[in-house]
């Protein structure tokens, strides 16, 4: 998986409040959290948009709230900005209780999904708007605006109106405007959603660069898992107003704590299983759909006879025409394959009729008839015990 380009220090600091269930060695840092969301619940009538969310974010992090539409991520962002008052719970930024402050008194700025530029003002005036409430001289103000436009490379467009510039430029004006007041926290609501794919990738790195230059803490709301994984030092996966898991991109991808998280991020094969024996390192589970027992990395609190879910990522499965003496090896037949160039996706039918997805990297240059397996071929698939994820729910 693509790892965000952070320094080792930053990465250490960012794993602090990782989800307790994540089976990763955790660095403990005693610094008090910069942002603390305490048991925040937001209800609209009978609908609960955000349900008992507790979250700690460190200074200088890019933290992503990831989830599908209606999962409550935007509502949580609006609670932080002050546009929604939480039904229950408190919000602290830099040790100060922000819960009852209106948006215009919070040291927080937001970049809106629609950018929300002021249509009747020039780019320069847009960026300068927030500064008129700051205690600074006209020269200082002009200097800051110049700095900001320089930061987002829009100096030559200063006198244009928002409708006279392109979508990507508008996005950068919105960013400059939100950063101009040097907020303690910058909230970004789907910052890249309105851009086309090519521009999005470019802008993603630009955002990270700007974040590193300014050192501002970012909270990004996104529905795009790749965006969340590349951008953020840590992310929280949300569903139905709840936080399902918090951790680094690797934590969440490699060590999901639930079927929801495992299925939401990337693709994965699920099997119904029953625990047979448990050890300190590994556990044996019986998987009827695979037609045998699987050795998997153990998780705490397993008991023999317990029903459980086995999850295996497609790229962690090895395909071979011959049976090798490897743990977790099972026979199957290639039902279909899709060739993507750098890799191929196989659909393997197991003897039970269950279909398993296998992703195989085409590391070797080979012709059509030399590949690992072809249509209708009988194959053996195997995966490492460490790649076998056990999930209780």
């Amino acid at each position: 998986m693509p790892e965000p380009a952070r320094t080792a220090d930053q990465r250490a600091a960012t794993t602090v409040a990782a989800f307790p269930g994540a089976q990763l060695p955790q660095t403990s840092v005693k610094a008090p959290p910069f942002i603390r969301i305490e048991h925040v619940t937001k209800r609209f009538g009978t609908f609960t948009a955000v349900s008992d969310v507790t979250l700690e974010i460190q200074k200088g992090e890019i933290f992503s709230l990831l989830g599908g539409s209606g999962c409550g991520k935007t509502t949580l962002l609006r609670v932080l900005a002050g546009f929604e008052a939480p039904t229950e719970g408190r919000v602290f930024i830099d040790g100060q209780d922000m819960t009852d402050l209106p948006p215009y008194e919070r040291p927080v700025n937001m970049m809106f999904q629609s950018y929300a530029l002021f249509p009747h003002m020039t780019v320069e005036k847009n960026v300068a708007y927030g500064l008129k409430h700051e205690d600074m001289t006209g020269a200082q103000r002009a200097e800051r605006v110049r700095e900001m436009l320089d930061l987002v490379q829009l100096t030559e467009f200063a006198q244009r109106k928002p409708h006279q510039i392109s979508g990507g430029q508008r996005q950068r004006v919105a960013l400059a405007r939100a950063l101009a007041k040097q907020p303690k926290l910058l909230l970004l609501d789907e910052p890249l959603a309105a851009l086309d794919k090519k521009l999005r990738e470019h802008t993603q790195f630009e955002l990270m660069e700007i974040q590193e230059k300014t050192g501002t803490t970012f909270i990004v709301v996104t529905h795009d898992q790749e965006e969340a994984m590349t951008l953020s030092s840590r992310l929280a996966v949300m569903d139905k107003g709840r936080i399902m898991q918090i951790g680094t991109a690797t934590d969440v991808y490699e060590y999901p704590n639930s079927r929801f998280v495992a299925g939401f991020i990337g693709s994965i094969n699920f099997f119904e299983a029953t625990v047979r024996t448990t050890g300190a390192e590994t556990a044996e589970v019986e998987v009827p759909d695979l037609g045998g027992n699987v050795t998997a990395r153990a998780i705490p609190g397993l008991a023999p006879g317990q029903p459980i879910t086995l999850a295996v990522r497609p790229e962690k499965v090895h395909l071979a025409r011959k049976r090798h003496d490897l743990p977790n090896t099972f026979p199957g037949t290639v039902q279909s394959l899709a060739y993507f160039g750098k890799d191929s996706l196989y659909r393997i039918v197991l003897p039970s009729g269950h279909v398993m997805l296998v992703n195989s990297v085409n590391a070797r240059r080979a012709g059509e008839h030399e590949r690992v397996a072809d249509w209708e071929d009988a194959v053996f698939l195997s995966f490492d015990p460490a790649a076998a994820i056990l999930l209780k729910d």
Partner: protein
């Protein structure tokens, strides 16, 4: 170039003729030298001259203008507030009722509004002694009431189209609600406010029915005067008066149209330039 359908062109001509031939004939006959409205007696501007020396007509015109200016301004203030409330406050107690009550006068027959206003003014005079008599005040109040709804509708639709996040962004950048209103909301809806005011002004200027119910002795607006004069037969000076009115209104509409059109065109051109710059 697509071939024009003869049928469509004919229908278009008929349509325009239906609208504008009466007005044109009225304009032509305002230069009629004859005293009889329907007999052409040669070209003359004497009716315009007699109009300018007719104190009664000039006073009525002045009164109408005063009422229209005042009522349009008041209606614009109230209507803008109602429009903003409807567009920006999605949840408040009695919102549906408010929205219904605000827009009901749009479909209410004018006669009903007129009678209702009259009844109200009579009852108010009995109970609280104000307004003591009907005249300038009552007509203006009635005009504010029924022209406000047009402003509300225009402002509401304009503001509903605008992105509410823009106002939130201003608040997020440190502006208090009143500053947001001044810096962002009002500039965005200013075209709607201007056209709302123009509409309210025009409606007030030519209203007969409601004015008739709410006016009192000595307060004769221009439309009322015309109405009472026409009852005695259409005289050429009325034609002249109507021609002047049409010219004023027409010029106003044309100016507003040109301004709006120019803004639209500039916007289009800028958008096109921005698009090309990114190719």
């Amino acid at each position: 170039m697509r071939r024009r359908s003869t049928f469509l062109v004919t229908m278009l001509c008929f349509g325009f003729a239906f609208f504008y031939v009466p007005i044109l004939s009225m304009m032509v006959y305002s230069f009629n030298g004859s005293r009889l409205a329907t007999v052409w007696g040669g070209f003359s501007t004497k009716w315009y001259v007699s109009l300018l020396s007719n104190r009664q007509i000039l006073n009525a015109a002045l009164l109408s203008l005063k009422i229209a200016l005042l009522s349009a301004t008041m209606a614009t203030i109230l209507g803008t507030m109602a429009g903003i409330a409807l567009a920006r406050f999605k949840r408040f107690r009695g919102r549906t009722l408010f929205s219904g009550l605000v827009t009901a006068p749009l479909v209410m027959p004018e006669v009903i509004t007129g009678i209702a206003s009259l009844m109200l003014f009579i009852l108010m005079a009995e109970w609280i002694g104000w307004p003591a008599s009907r005249g300038f005040t009552t007509v203006t109040l009635a005009h504010i009431t029924f022209s406000m709804v047009f402003v509300t509708t225009i402002v509401h639709s304009r503001l509903s189209e605008a992105d509410a996040a823009v106002e939130e962004a201003a608040m997020d950048l440190g502006s208090r609600p009143w500053q947001v209103m001044k810096d962002i909301t009002l500039p965005i809806i200013s075209p709607a406010i201007v056209s709302g005011w123009l509409l309210a002004f025009t409606i007030s200027l030519d209203d007969v029915v409601i004015t008739n119910f709410t006016t009192g002795p000595g307060t004769t607006t221009l439309p009322i005067l015309i109405w009472s004069k026409v009852k005695l037969g259409v005289t050429p000076d009325i034609n002249a008066l109507a021609t002047i009115t049409v010219c004023i209104v027409g010029t106003g509409v044309a100016i507003a149209g040109v301004i709006l059109n120019r803004a639209e065109k500039r916007r289009d051109r800028d958008a096109r330039m921005a698009y090309q710059a990114n190719q």
